[in-house]
């Protein structure tokens, strides 16, 4: 194969491919993409070609979904992707101010990554934490009731982890 993935991702791909009926491997494309992206950080042409081969679909059938789903990306983001929700429930609880604080304190704009590649930020739509707003999701980890002070702590923790 043209790209090397970890044994864990290979095992995950196999589990995904086994989950659909005979002749329905196209169903595996989106889960394969997102789990691979967790490892690679970015969806490349080679990755899409490999998925097309494994799922027995045309390359364009992979490419077209990458363009549709907001979590799939062809541009790299930070090791820690910090997503700040500003949708209605978060907005009413200070989410918009939190987002502005995130931009200003990190000197980043929407979907930009820090020079060291560690942190990127994104203003996102509702993540399902409305009653514990405002919410931030770092990669797949939720943080609730995030104040600007708490936000700064989270960033410090991420920088400490490296």
């Amino acid at each position: 194969m043209s790209i090397a993935l970890s044994a864990a991702t290979e095992a995950r791909w196999q589990k995904i491919l086994d989950a659909y009926p005979e002749g329905r491997k196209r169903s595996a494309v989106i889960p394969m993409l997102i789990f691979a992206q967790d490892e690679t950080g970015i969806i490349t042409r080679e990755l899409m070609e490999e998925i097309a081969r494994r799922a027995e679909v045309d390359y364009l059938q992979v490419e077209e979904v990458v363009g549709f789903y907001s979590m799939l990306r062809k541009q790299p983001l930070g090791k820690y992707h910090v997503q700040v929700c500003t949708n209605i429930s978060c907005m009413l609880a200070g989410g918009m101010e939190l987002w502005h604080h995130a931009c200003e304190s990190l000197h980043l704009k929407n979907k930009q990554t820090s020079a060291d590649g560690l942190i990127s930020i994104e203003e996102v739509e509702c993540m399902g934490a409305c009653s514990w707003a405002p919410a931030v999701e770092v990669n797949y980890d939720f943080h609730h009731h995030v104040t600007p002070e708490r936000f700064d702590e989270i960033i410090l923790e991420l920088k400490g982890k490296g």
Binding site: F68, M91, C130
Partner: protein, 435 residues
Amino acid sequence: MFNPPSPHEVKILTRRFGVQNSHTIDASLAHQGYDGLKKAIAMGADAVINEIKASALRGRGGAGFPTGMKWSFIPRTSPKPKYIVCNADESEPGTCKDRLLIQNDPHSLIEGIAIAGFTMNSNRGYIYVRGEYRYLIYILETAIAEAYKHNLLGQNILGTGWNFDLFVHSGAGAYECGEESALLNSLEGKRGTPRLKPPFPATHGLYQSPTLLNNVESFCAVTHIIRDGAADFAKHGPEKSGGTRLMCISGHVQRPGVYEMPLSTTLPFLINEVGGGLRPGRTLKAVQPGGSSSPILLPEECNVGLDFDSLAKAGTMAGSGGIVVLDDTADIVAYALRIIRFYQHESCGWCIPCREGTTWLKKILERLNQGEGTMKDVDLVGELAKNMFGRTFCALGDAAAWPTGSIVKKFRGEFETKLAAVQARQVPAELVNIG
């Protein structure tokens, strides 16, 4: 991490919340886990469907369609494979309940899906989980593996000769995939655009086969309805809106949270007694009672029940159970803009009234929010919303038009005030460019 419970709650679906390791099968089995499945097998498929009908359960995903009736539409004897699909793509702004159900009691969901599988003579089910809820995918996979070990999934379940496999499928970020036909396209590996209906998923769903598709909370309710009987559930709500639901209250209340409440609960009770009321010194400005898609209510319209029919009668909807409360500090113009930014971002682009309509609404509301428009723009928002309504492939266009149309109609004065203030350069800086 989450809100503490309220003493007013009626805990049916959330009964195992707080039990130590409630997500494990041991905790589930120690608290009547899978008794509903065993009972369903003993009752037989027809009796199961009748029981759900008698419970007056209505779909908890948003549309509020009677669940028992939906189940009766599936051609159970069709020679095609029958699929059970669970919609765990929770993404309606204001709604955060399915997350709690899966996190705290995944076995209640798996049991409900298994009951559906047995009833529909199905051998395969999928749980479609939104990509952002990755930790729930792992929780579900662990729980499913436990259920296989206990012969509650897999081959010859409980000696019945019936086989049922259940899988978890990850989405990748698209609100539109909460719409059932878009979800099915996405599950087939395609872009999440809706399908023309009819035919409906009941006969032509996943892989063009009969498919039963329900929300997480609906399946969890089925588990408890079958175990404890329809009457025990139905008694908590009005005749045509049975049971409890997980109500998600957010925004300007003192105790925002997710609370399992009878459907006979009223909106003032939820806000004041369960949600702790408004902050001191504040007055109510508006409520969206069914997620961001629901038409907004003025304070004088808020003396209403939270069941499906009462809210429909009040000109709005119960939707997904997300109740968003706004007090007098809320900037309604910025709020309207934030709603439409969401729908514009999430419109899948499949049909023109939605794709173009949400884009134009966003542009106009941006202008109004910056104080650069005129009152004619406010009329234009209302006109656009009216012309989108009912003219789109799926309900996303309606969902964008409903709140927007209702906000410009009911809060015209706020738009006038904001325009006049900005144009007179008297507006406080923090009120400009927010949203």
